[in-house]
């Protein structure tokens, strides 16, 4: 970013030095002059339609909208005067003319921007005595309710739908006073992110899964981190009487990296927390083939400790495997690792992760990009991955970087992902050949060979290289799990070999699948001897017992269904009965993210707080507490005194990247703290890796069909998993019901997911 020159602006008689070209409305607000507005929304296209933010600027004939005025030198602004107040009161009066005045029955009452504005700018009596225009309420989808009467046409919803999501599913129709926000065909055919609900200042668009269940002032609000993907969106959990009622990101409650953005999972997939199928008590299977029988915590811990001790004594420490999860907190995974190393003494510990980022972290020669960096990047290279579905916030930042920031985007993918609409260049490669591009970028193969393997034209690689070379600003390299470990290593070394220039900087943005994929790596849980599939393959052989926290991935169990049965002893910490608990000898009911304190590390490397919103349901306990209890029963007291903060303090002492971090430092979600990852230099041993990569690429057959169809929006987002499966609306959205033949337009049966386009590498969170 260039440093803009500073100019002098006089606001209400006070002088300020501000950046030239800054929006006047922001400058006024930052300096403490309240300016009302509805349609103005930072980082969206200007609208200037609500006419609330009027100010008087000297030498301009009329009142001006401060959202459209940029600061110039010597500007003299008045934000408060009789004239301005009359105009603003007039606008509120206009907005209320056709707006129903029945706030007590409106779901937005109590947190409605229009309502608040009326307290400040409304009249004492209503002069409008005519009939109000009427439109009936309707559902736009199973999760979006629409009451068009309440609309003030600020069009934030249409703009976020277009600019953030690139979906354009919602648009204004009609003219003049008959204008209503509507959809094409009468229902919302989109990813159902619900951001239109979030940004709506009135009760026009409402969360149909939550509305009329409680009032906002009855909710206890807790700022926490989303548990569904690696983006780590900040959100506000609203709970009442121990029940999680809703999840929002409204800026009045939370101010995180995501602003008011959330995806369908973050916003709507929380009902699993209070779901009736949650495990209620610890369960013990006293003999193989028997039933899981409810037990007390004391008994379950004692039983487990005794069994583990027995197996350790009989088969040695390494016969016990410990499996953490990239879905659990840093605290849980750290305590698990400590349990494995210090209590059991086993070398067999890992996490149920889809792919390991270890080679990347070991060799990375450029820092990690934050989501803000992505928004302001100049060139973005996306190799594999599908952020639209798996890291929606990243996708939104990429789209805005291109649309609002003029960035260039190159996509290398075997599927024509929807984000390619924004791409400057799209390399449509054969599945599994992404490695070849990394080799070509590293200059270790001729373009012709790489292009042949990938199934693209030879000339398609050079423009990408040139684009990176000519970039003035940040180059963000993103990659998904499609890259092999060797390719990850070479890519991680690439910035070091190309080198930064004065105006160009490389940044990395890996796209792991889970909310704490970085965390499991950081605490060292991924450093064990075997990975999850390795452990399962050794089950019943060298590995006699497994202690699994958080459940195994379907991909791990696929083809290894027998493995769990071969074990002598299986302990599982879970929220629900799953395929894994079906084979468990002991099951501990774990607390969900809404019931615990902790931290997640997102794909920016930001260490963000998870905060307890409700007490653990039934008899659930946080994962790290369960592990500590087990350790205690096995004779080692971790001495955390039931405090997650104490666990994190220890992490801050033992994990290099988290050196010095404490909970108090992480308390402000608007100023997130990035872990301090060590950058690697150029490494000699990379030569071997390079040779291996070259061989791998050479072995590629150059065959394999590209997927030619762009997947429907939400083909991963709507996937029914353990957690999302607990949301009835997800079943409707995922076309769980057949479409009735005689219904032309039904908001309840709308989205078809083409499962044929799902790829094996993409295992969505949950």
């Amino acid at each position: 970013m260039t440093t803009a020159e500073s100019v002098k602006v006089t606001i209400n008689g006070q002088e300020f030095q501000v950046q030239k070209g800054a929006p006047l409305i922001d400058v006024c607000r930052e300096n403490g002059f309240a300016i009302p507005s509805f349609c103005y929304y930072a980082d969206l296209a200007l609208q200037a339609s609500c006419r609330m933010c009027l100010v008087r600027i000297e030498k301009m004939p009329k009142l001006q909208t401060s959202c459209t005025i940029t600061c110039t030198d010597g500007m003299i602004v008045t934000t408060q005067s009789e004239e301005i107040e009359k105009a603003q009161r007039g606008m509120v009066e206009f907005l209320l003319a056709n707006h129903p005045l029945d706030c007590p029955v409106c779901d937005r009452g109590g947190e409605c921007e229009l309502q608040e504005m009326v307290f400040d700018w409304g009249g004492l009596e209503e002069r409008f005595t005519e009939r109000k225009n009427y439109y009936p309420e309707k559902f736009l989808s199973p999760i979006v309710a629409n009451d068009p009467q309440r609309c003030i046409l600020c069009k934030r919803c249409t703009r976020v739908c277009d600019e953030w999501m690139g979906e354009d599913a919602i648009e204004a129709g009609g003219r003049g006073a008959n204008t209503v926000i509507g959809t094409f065909g009468g229902w919302l055919n989109c990813s159902q992110c619900g951001n239109c609900i979030e940004v709506c200042p009135t009760g026009t668009l409402l969360d149909a899964t939550y509305r009329h269940q409680t009032r906002p002032w009855e909710l206890e609000r807790t700022v926490s981190t989303c548990t569904f993907c690696s983006d780590g969106c900040q959100m506000s959990l609203g709970s009442r009487a121990g029940e999680l009622m809703r999840v929002v990101a409204r800026d009045r409650y939370v101010d995180g990296i995501n602003g008011e953005f959330l995806c369908i999972k973050g916003r709507f997939a929380h009902p699993f927390v209070n779901h009736e199928e949650r495990l209620r008590t610890p369960l013990i299977r006293y003999r193989k083939g028997g039933k899981l029988i409810p037990a007390t915590w004391d008994e379950a811990i004692r039983f487990t400790a005794a069994k583990l001790q027995e197996i350790k004594d009989a088969h040695g420490a390494n016969s016990i495997g410990v499996v953490g999860s990239p879905r659990l907190t840093n605290e849980a995974n750290y305590v698990l690792l400590k349990f494995a190393r210090e209590v059991i003494g086993t070398e067999h510990y890992t996490a149920s992760e889809a792919f390991s980022l270890a080679p990347f972290f070991k060799h990375m020669t450029a820092p990690l990009a934050t989501h803000k960096d992505i928004r302001h990047a100049k060139t973005i290279v996306l190799i594999g991955g599908e952020p639209e579905e798996l890291q929606p916030l990243t996708a939104k930042q990429v789209r805005q970087a291109v649309r609002n920031g003029g960035a260039k985007l190159v996509i290398i993918n075997s599927v024509p992902v929807r984000l390619k609409q924004q791409a400057t260049q799209f390399l449509h490669v054969r599945p599994g050949t992404e490695d070849a591009l990394v080799l070509a970028l590293a200059g270790q193969t001729d373009d012709a060979m790489a292009a042949r393997k990938m199934g693209v034209e030879v000339g398609e690689i050079e423009p990408l290289r040139r684009m990176i070379d000519e970039t003035q600003g940040n180059v963000v390299l993103m990659f998904g799990g499609e890259l092999s470990t060797e390719a990850q290593t070479i890519l991680a070394q690439l910035p070091g070999s190309i080198g930064d220039e004065e105006n160009r900087r490389f940044l990395f943005h890996p796209l792991p699948l889970f909310n704490n994929s970085f965390g499991v790596h950081d605490v060292g849980l991924m450093d064990g001897k075997l990975n999850a599939t390795g452990l399962l393959d050794a089950a019943g052989d060298t590995v006699r017992a497994l202690y699994v926290a958080g459940g195994l991935l379907p991909a791990h169990l696929q083809g290894r269904e027998q493995a769990l049965q071969n074990l002598d002893f299986l302990v599982v910490q879970e929220l629900f009965a799953t395929d894994t608990t079906a084979h468990a000898d002991v099951v501990f009911p774990a607390a969900s993210f809404a019931e615990i304190d902790g931290t997640y590390t997102n794909n920016d490397g930001l260490v963000q707080r998870v905060r307890q919103s409700i007490p653990p349901v039934h008899q659930a306990k946080p994962d790290w507490v369960i592990t500590s209890l087990l350790a205690d029963a096995l004779g080692i007291d971790f001495n955390y005194q039931m405090s997650a903060s104490a666990v994190f303090r220890e992490i801050g002492e033992h994990v290099p990247a988290y050196q010095g971090l404490r909970y108090p430092l992480l308390k402000d979600e608007s100023k997130p703290v990035q872990a301090k990852y060590q950058l690697a230099g150029q490494r000699a041993e990379v030569a071997d890796v390079l040779a291996e990569l070259r061989q791998r690429v050479e072995r590629m057959t150059g065959a394999g069909d590209k997927i030619m169809e762009t997947p429907e929006v939400g083909h991963e987002l709507f996937k029914i998993g353990t957690l999302t499966g607990k949301v009835p609306q997800f079943h409707l959205l995922a076309a769980g019901n057949p479409e009735p033949p005689d219904v032309l337009v039904s908001p309840l049966y709308q989205i078809t997911i083409d499962s044929g386009l799902r790829r094996d590498t993409a295992i969505a969170g949950d």
Binding site: S49, L63, G90, E93
Partner: protein, 437 residues
């Protein structure tokens, strides 16, 4: 219906009365495309803009912005293509001059557009007509085809290096698309909403490229300016308002029609009483809306004996505006409350809905007017109407809000009696009616 010039030689209306005036032959027989030839024979684009500047030609669409200045805002060194767009979305109630010019003399418009395109370095021009003028598209397209066959439109016009295309496009029937940026949105295929200014179209207009949007009558004036020279054209009118102006006269006069007057025509009263043949049926003049529905209404007292000069400055002095030149004459039988209600309904119908004051304000105004018309008026309603107008005027996104407010403000101010009658309590009204009986 009268067609012709008063007080000057006809320029715009020179050929409209001729047989087959639409054809290229007739147009050429009467001096057609001579101006284009003159331009291509040795005038530089700067010369053309210079002549237009000297002519003191002001935009005839309503705002009256100096055309030469508008043209000079287009950046010469921009690498982007430049566009000339003719605004033929003539939707202002009481205005029908552009339709007339296009219907009878389409080549004059084409020549004007070509000269403008030459001056601005444009190769592509568009004529955007309102949806209801669909039938004109056939006439314009036929004329363009004729001109193309004669080598006047298309590649290498008149054998020179200058190439230019003229395309026609109709709107879908929205008054707002007469606003130049809404027109550009509509032309691009978007919703007809006005755009934010700045950037002005001269910098970023059609498809984000430098664009000049001119009214039909503005462009048809250009060939004559080139032929006679800017100075001579200006001398036909006044210092600041050069040339002649075409007025569409309608309402209670004996000879409604299309009149071409020199700018600064000396007396509006004389124009109505003599040139337009006097009041229909010998009734008394009550009011005049001189420039299309959006301007202030003038009561007879402001006209009779006041020697109102008919040009941009003169009408402002008299308390109104030239606007689009839709000259509406009303006699004593007109109830100004009713006529204003009618206009307000028009603005409510045509408000695009983008901004709060215009969308909600016009809706509210109409509801108040309708309530009053139903006999449920209240004495404080006049103040309410004025206050609503004040909250719309100057606060709306585009001038449509102002245009909706001005007629009401001036009507209440100038004809309070007409409103008072409707706002009286029903009992008083009945008593007055009985007394008058």
């Amino acid at each position: 219906m009268f067609i012709g010039a008063i007080g000057c030689e006809p320029l715009q209306l020179k050929r409209v009365g001729l047989e087959n005036s639409r054809t290229l032959d007739v147009y050429r027989q009467h001096g057609g495309y001579e101006a284009l030839k003159k331009v291509l024979d040795g005038m530089s684009p700067e010369d053309v803009i210079g002549e237009v500047k000297k002519s003191a030609l002001r935009g005839r669409g309503g705002a009256g912005f100096p055309t030469g200045m508008k043209w000079s805002f287009v950046p010469k060194d921009s690498p982007k293509p430049k566009y000339v767009v003719c605004n033929a979305d003539e939707s202002e109630p009481g205005t029908f001059k552009d339709r007339f010019l296009m219907e009878r003399d389409p080549h004059m418009l084409i020549e004007g557009m070509l000269i403008a395109a030459y001056a601005l370095g444009s190769r592509t021009t568009y004529i955007y007509t309102r949806g209801e003028y669909r039938y004109l598209i056939n006439i314009l397209d036929a004329a363009i085809q004729e001109a193309r066959e004669a080598g006047l439109v298309g590649d290498r016009i008149m054998g020179t290096e200058f190439s230019c295309e003229v395309f026609t496009h109709t709107g879908a029937g929205a008054y707002i698309c007469g606003e130049e940026t809404a027109l550009l949105n509509s032309l691009e295929g978007l919703r007809g909403h006005p755009r934010m200014k700045p950037p002005f179209p001269a910098i970023a207009g059609l498809y984000g490229c430098p664009t000049v949007v001119n009214n039909v009558e503005t462009l048809t004036a250009v060939p004559d300016i080139i032929k006679m020279g800017g100075e001579a054209y200006q001398k036909l009118g006044t210092q600041k308002s050069g040339g002649t102006k075409v007025w569409s006269v309608s309402g209670h006069v004996n000879r409604p029609g299309v009149y071409e007057l020199p700018m600064g025509y000396e007396d509006m009263e004389k124009f109505i009483m003599e040139d337009c043949g006097g009041m229909l049926g010998g009734k008394q003049l009550k009011a005049v809306i001189p420039g299309g529905s959006s301007v202030y209404i003038m009561p007879a007292t402001d006209i009779v004996g006041k020697k109102v000069k008919m040009d941009y400055e003169g009408l402002v002095v008299a308390g109104s505006m030239v606007g689009s030149g839709g000259f509406i004459v009303m006699d004593e039988t007109v109830d100004v409350f009713e006529s204003t209600k009618n206009l307000t309904e028009f603005y409510k119908h045509e408000s695009c809905g983008w901004c709060t004051p215009c969308r909600e304000g016009t809706d509210w105004l109409v509801k108040v007017f309708k309530r009053i018309a139903k006999g449920e008026g209240r004495p404080e309603d006049a103040q309410l109407l004025l206050d609503l107008c004040d909250n719309i005027e100057g606060k709306s996104f585009c001038p449509l809000g102002d245009a909706a407010a001005w007629p009401i403000q001036s009507a209440i101010k100038k004809f309070p009696e007409d409103f008072r009658r409707h706002l009286m309590p029903m009992a008083t009204r009945t008593a007055e009616a009985v007394a008058a009986d």
